[in-house]
């Protein structure tokens, strides 16, 4: 009974989070002494999956784009076809959308925000809870088990395989929802997919001062984010609000500029690996939660940081 992973792609390229799901799925398959199958939509060239431990890929052509119910139904059919009883998904907005529907369809237990490999006998996983203020070991008691893997929790692990590919033509159910319009910035990395996030708070004084934040993000190939009051004041769009009541951040590098580090802010960004804080106030609570800190005025430090990083990038590329 193989492990099944749902591999997401965008413009026919696999997302990093998807390759992380493959790496994790491989490790689960090894623990359970079984093979790893994947289901992929609308992507012809799947050869990259052979680098991350996938033994068999089912390719599905579905020209209508993402639809949670339809995709959940296709993944359920793939699971039945493969007799898979462990299914692994990412933490993307789409995966979180379809996972509960998939769980009901397969009568499976679903645990999101998982950060480690499962233990077996009994089968349990470790997930974050209370907005990253704790971990919770959770048993999955159903026969079929669905794991939602936290971004950046496991990393990419290469594992070459001889990948088999098979065209899969499941029954496609009709949908009760239609997409009217998609607005997506194509030139910007999203907070969910970003390796680095540059985030700024009320210390920036006003929306007109965000140029340097965007430039810093640009130099680092980072996504931009902000604290809650900044989005409530309309300085930045709500989609940039991170924290307990906004988006979670689990990037490799999180740079916080002019953010005090309130408990609700920290809860949402704590899973980031390395945190840098730039703040004029040496008593700002963020300094207790960060790895590197600079006490200084953002309006002086950030322009210098941009210049130095440009030089660094020029020397290291």
């Amino acid at each position: 009974m193989p492990v099944l992973v749902y591999i997401e792609s965008e413009n026919k390229m696999f997302k990093k989070a998807a390759l992380e799901v493959a790496s994790y799925g491989r490790a689960v398959a090894n623990t359970l002494n079984t093979s790893l199958s994947a289901v992929v939509f609308n992507t012809e060239d799947c050869s990259q999956l052979a680098d991350y431990g996938v033994d068999k890929v089912l390719t599905v052509n579905h020209s209508n784009g993402f639809n949670a119910k339809v995709y959940a139904d296709v993944i359920a059919q793939a699971a039945l076809k493969e007799s898979a009883n462990v299914i692994v998904l990412s933490s993307s907005a789409d995966s979180r959308y379809l996972a509960p529907i998939l769980a009901v369809g397969l009568k499976a237990g679903y645990v999101p925000n998982v950060v480690e490999l499962p233990k077996t006998q009994p089968f349990s996983v470790k997930r974050t809870a209370f907005s990253n203020k704790a971990f919770c070991e959770t048993q999955i008691t159903t026969e079929v088990k669905i794991i939602g893997l936290s971004n950046n929790a496991f990393g990419l692990i290469e594992h070459p395989t001889s990948l088999q590919s098979e065209a899969f033509s499941p029954q496609i159910t009709s949908s009760d929802i239609s997409v009217e319009k998609v607005d997506k910035a194509t030139d910007k990395v999203s907070i969910a997919d970003a390796e680095t996030v540059v985030s700024a708070g009320r210390g920036l004084k006003g929306p007109e001062n965000w140029n340097m934040i965007e430039e810093l993000a640009d130099v680092l190939g980072a996504a931009t984010a902000c604290s809650k009051p900044v989005s409530d004041l309309g300085w930045r769009p709500h989609s940039e609000h991170v924290g307990q009541t906004g988006k979670p951040v689990a990037s490799n590098l999180y740079i916080a500029i002019g953010i005090s580090g309130a408990i609700q802010h920290l809860a949402g960004i704590n899973s980031s690996k390395v945190k840098v804080v730039i703040n004029t106030d040496p008593e700002a609570p963020f300094f207790k939660a960060a790895d590197y800190g600079i006490v200084g005025d953002a309006f002086e430090v950030v322009p210098k940081l941009i210049e130095k990083l440009k030089t660094f990038k020029a020397q290291n590329s």
Partner: protein, 248 residues
């Protein structure tokens, strides 16, 4: 239009999180409980439908008697009636099953839940309810308009948003954007007085069916000390990020 808003009773965002019974249970000692923030945005949007489109708005929670204060607050904000399903929530599926039963029995057109509750962050109850009910479903919903039986909703996606259309019945997983922070209402005295007279019906749970169980909690390991870098020595920061942390 009949709207059901699912209300999760969660620790206030400033709560210190601790565990008891050998780390197997959440320690509620000294913890303030509130309406789950994502649910409050949904409830406030429901109030808009009540005012502008004559909707009736009921609220429901799965939980013990201690959650009634949270339901009363929802009534004080303006909901018409409340239901409490008298059982301790154990896993997302069990909660979704209980809520679905209330939704079917009350024949609701629109079911508003939060994208996730800030205690267990499961984010599965709305989707599971939609699947149980065979209703349409929009997650991460940041805008919702209803015209007759047609719904137009906007969903936040990674790096953007998507506008969707469907028909009722509809389940949403809502969040900020449904209304703005400044639209949230603090109940006034009149609302609080009226809430005391509104019906709060206690229902007994159906057969509990769970798929997962939380067995043990643990707090993150304490953080190592921060390294401070002088504001005039940005080169050192770049060196640390490159050679020590290896993130650039």
């Amino acid at each position: 239009m009949k709207i059901l808003v699912c209300i999760s009773h969660v620790p206030d965002t400033t709560s210190k999180i601790n565990f008891t019974n050998d780390n197997t249970a959440f320690d509620t000692n000294g913890v303030q409980f509130v309406i789950n923030p994502n649910d409050e945005f949904g409830l406030t949007r429901a109030m808009w439908f009540k005012e502008k489109q004559n909707a009736t708005v009921d609220v429901v929670n799965v939980g013990g008697p201690e959650t009634e204060s949270t339901l009363r607050k929802a009534l004080a904000i303006g909901a018409d009636a409340a239901f409490r399903i008298n059982t301790t929530p154990t896993d997302g599926y069990a909660v979704a099953k209980e809520l679905s039963k209330v939704a079917v029995d009350g024949n609701y057109d629109l079911i508003i839940a939060g994208r996730e509750s800030i205690d267990y962050n499961g984010g599965m109850v709305p989707g599971m309810m939609a699947a149980e009910l065979g209703a349409s479903f929009v997650n991460n919903c940041i805008s919702l308009e209803i015209d007759g039986t047609n719904a137009t909703a906007v969903r936040e996606i990674d790096g953007g948003k998507e506008t969707l259309s469907s028909t009722l019945p509809l389940v949403i997983g809502g969040q900020k954007g449904l209304v703005e922070e400044s639209d949230l209402k603090i109940p006034n005295m009149r609302g609080i007085m009226m809430a005391r007279k509104k019906p709060l019906t206690v229902l007994e749970p159906a057969q509990q069916q769970t798929c997962t169980s939380s067995v043990k909690f643990e707090k993150p390991a304490p953080k190592g000390a921060i390294k401070m870098v002088d504001a005039d020595n940005i080169d050192e920061l770049i060196d640390l990020l490159h050679n020590e942390a290896k993130v650039i």
